[in-house]
Symmetry: C2
Subunit: 502 residues, 2 copies
């Protein structure tokens, strides 16, 4: 047992507890807090953020980390302790460069920005949100300037925070590959679209029944309600206090069958990841999912790879039909599977199908790069947004609510996050390609027994928390780092089979 590491422990506990409290406020603000609470609550969040900053960036922690990095000390640590020291050092080095008062002011700003964005979106009023967004962008650029390594662009620094080591250079190539595969495929698919009748999806699906069915789906994929809760919020999301308290939200629309159903499978995938972290890691800095990309791989694996497959619905379709007899009696499984995979350009990312989805991400990636390189101003965003949508998807959003204001991310300062969604898709496809060697996925799905799938992911990904990064996990599972080919191949095969094989 390292004496130095023992001395670090109370600091780790404080950092964790303060970060945890901030997570709880975040959850509460999204799911419950009353409308007029935010002005006061933002001050509290500001103070807690400042305390959280101080709990990490102080001379004692600095001294302990620097002593623990000495080879003699470091080598004597357990593997988990080494991971903790590495992760803490990274956070310390990054945060130390950001002045405490700026960090605090920024935390208060983003706490208030969420309702400002929600308001702007509701009222289709980008102008009211622009000044807040401008401030956020300014802070983000300033922070990236403080923290970026030599040779990195500002946007690189933001990307690196979300997915260690995956920077603009790699992503440009990654997205180019995807564009090359998806754009022509989409064209062919759309030409066949009159073959798919999806009108059933927009009939009446009573919200109370949706709630019940979604709860069933969560349990079906392995969500443990003794260690998790499900609530409602404007936009579905997942958060967790620790591996025994994982929370997902959903949003119900009476006139849309799919929306909540695939949201719960998606968020459920995130949740299984956090629930599967080893008990020995929870409450430590490495006790959560390793990166946004790997997180999204889990949610998208469940939502798309499993959840939109015929095998998944074979044992469930009858139950679905009997839950909504009025709406689904004239729909059969084949039509339903085509319906939930219908590819069609639309303005809204969260409602997009698997094929157009990466284009929504590419648009955001390109805009974020431009924004960070001062090639576009905040005021110009609505115009640039609409131009990109016309270019890639052939449509122009009818207003900013369904255009540039659609996503919450920027109001939370989450720049460099969107690529994680596409990375997640690619990781999911890569895992799927190799998983067959150990688990008969199709048989699991068709027999309604999904636990072997969860256990496989738990054993190879979830349990490690963030003691391994994305490429370490991938190499161990698949023998190679991230490779977009699996993703383009998956999409091509899937959509060829669904649409183009007859």
């Amino acid at each position: 047992m390292s004496e130095l590491f023992e001395k670090l422990k109370p600091h780790l506990e404080q950092q964790f507890a303060l970060g945890n409290a901030l997570t709880l406020y975040g959850w509460d603000n999204e799911t419950l807090a009353p409308k007029e609470a935010m002005e006061n609550t933002a001050k509290i969040i500001g103070t807690l953020s400042a305390l959280s900053y101080q709990a990490l960036v102080n001379d004692e922690v600095r001294g302990l980390l620097s002593a623990l990095k000495e080879p003699k000390e470091f080598d004597a640590l357990s593997n988990v302790e080494q991971c903790i020291v590495k992760k803490l050092t990274k956070n310390f080095d990054r945060l130390e460069k950001i002045p405490a008062d700026e960090y605090r002011a920024y935390s208060e700003l983003t706490a208030k920005a969420a309702p400002a964005w929600a308001n702007a979106k509701q009222n289709n009023d980008f102008a009211s949100f622009a000044p807040v967004l401008k401030e956020i962008v300014t802070y983000q650029k300033k922070f990236a300037g403080y923290t970026k390594n030599a040779g990195m662009s500002l946007y690189d620094a933001m990307l690196d925070e979300n997915e260690e080591g995956i920077l603009t250079k790699e992503l440009d190539v990654f997205f180019e590959k995807i564009k090359e595969a998806v754009l022509p495929l989409l064209k062919k698919v759309v030409a066949q679209n009159d073959k798919v009748d999806k009108n059933y999806n927009f009939r009446s699906y009573p919200v109370e029944k949706q709630r019940e069915f979604c709860r069933f789906l969560a349990e079906y994929i392995g969500f443990d309600f003794n260690r998790g809760v499900m609530a409602e919020s404007a936009h579905p999301f997942t958060t967790n206090l620790h591996n025994h308290d994982v929370r997902i939200t959903n949003h119900f629309h009476e006139d849309n069958l799919e929306s909540a159903m695939f949201s719960v499978i998606h968020e459920g995938g995130h949740a299984l990841y956090e629930m599967g972290v080893d008990d020995a890691l929870t409450l430590t800095p490495v006790g959560g999912g390793t990166s946004m990309g790997v997180h999204e791989s889990q949610s998208r694996f469940y939502e798309n790879v499993l959840g939109r497959s015929e095998a998944f619905w074979k044992p469930l379709f009858e139950k679905l039909q009997s839950t909504y007899p009025d709406a689904l009696s004239d729909v059969d499984l084949t039509q339903f599977i085509r319906g939930i995979n219908k590819a069609e350009p639309g303005p809204v990312r969260t409602e997009a199908d698997e094929l157009t989805y990466p284009l929504h991400i590419i648009i955001r990636y390109e805009i974020e790069k431009m924004l960070m390189e001062d090639m576009v101003s905040v005021e110009e965003l609505p115009r640039v947004w609409n131009e990109k949508y016309e270019e890639y998807l052939g449509i122009i959003p009818k207003n900013d609510t369904e255009g540039v204001l659609q996503d919450v991310h920027w109001s939370g300062g989450m720049f460099g996050y969107f690529p994680s969604y596409a990375i997640g898709n690619a990781v999911a496809a890569q895992i799927y390609a190799y998983m067959h060697n150990e688990v008969n996925v199709k048989e699991c799905l068709e027999s309604g027994k999904l636990m072997p799938i969860r256990e496989y992911l738990r054993e190879h990904i979830h349990c490690f928390g963030s003691t391994k990064n994305m490429n370490e996990l991938l190499v161990a599972m698949t023998g190679e780092p991230l490779n977009a080919d699996y993703y383009t191949k998956y999409l091509t095969e899937k959509y060829t089979k669904l649409y183009l094989s007859e």
Copy 2:
């Protein structure tokens, strides 16, 4: 502007933010957190409690407080600043005497005790809860031993924390007066009980309709949903993050009309208090209600004095009837008013009527005194409990679930709290006796316009937060400190009119 006080401000902010986070965890645990979260979450709460302790008890705060208490400095402070310094000094002096590690261990213990109690109550298993309760009692006695002033008993110290200056000596007299008035009155009233038919209360009242009606009631008395939320929990309670975020819970039973309805009026009364605190005080140590007794006076004023009066229901009864046409069509206002005021000894405090209620409190008061004076052990509590119920109410609880395990308080270490309920009743009666001089309460109620009542209470009580204590508020409003005579007179007149005047 005092330079010293400016230096105190960041400390105040930190103390407030950490206390606030603990409040949020408390809320979350009661309303939402999953079953198996507590073991991990208790550790987080322990760490935050320790931080909260350190934020108050440290050399810098000690130095600032001692400098600020110098007359030259103190006199230069504003009134609110003086109140803050006084309150902080009191907290500091108290907390300083409790060793930090004991404070932390105790916080973790009570976080875990809540589910242990809930479990024991559910399974009628006092034995499983006894060891936890024993530990809590030991800590409470130890802490009271550390903090009590010379001449105080251990229980005095606990009482003083809940209601400044109201100790065993005063309470013995107070409760004696109540016993003298209530016991004979109850006897007479019970003899008339066959005149009251309350069977309607236990018909079927659909929970969804109850939720709606309770929401209506909350708004009716002045609860502002832009600054508050309503949720559900095993036992109704009120909490708040600040004056713009006040939260009440409720619990619905399909076979009981009254339970949720009077809970929402009760918790609503608490909530109006916190919502009414002046904006200049919120987020400071004096930004909440001044004491448990005054808090209970507000909840009980709304629940009993207003909510169980005929004038309150005159404009509402038709709406109530049409909400539950099946259950209430054969009930008229007169029967309903008698029903909601039916006095009948029962085993459960929270279901008790106004007349038997103080006897439930007296039982707890006497048992707590015995417990703290080592005249009864934790193991003996079930027996002593049942004996007291037989003595005062003539009934023996049929098991510990409806006996000694019924209340959550002891699992949270809340000893010395129960008397506040009776004090609250007495304060409510005293306020009511004088309020008529300024507000025509009956007219307000009968015309369904309750805002003048809320405004009166806001102006004379709520707005002050805890810058004035109970007796200061009472003297300013009524010209005298707490006087139990108003309460016994109120009960006697009310029950004589309802039951004995024909």
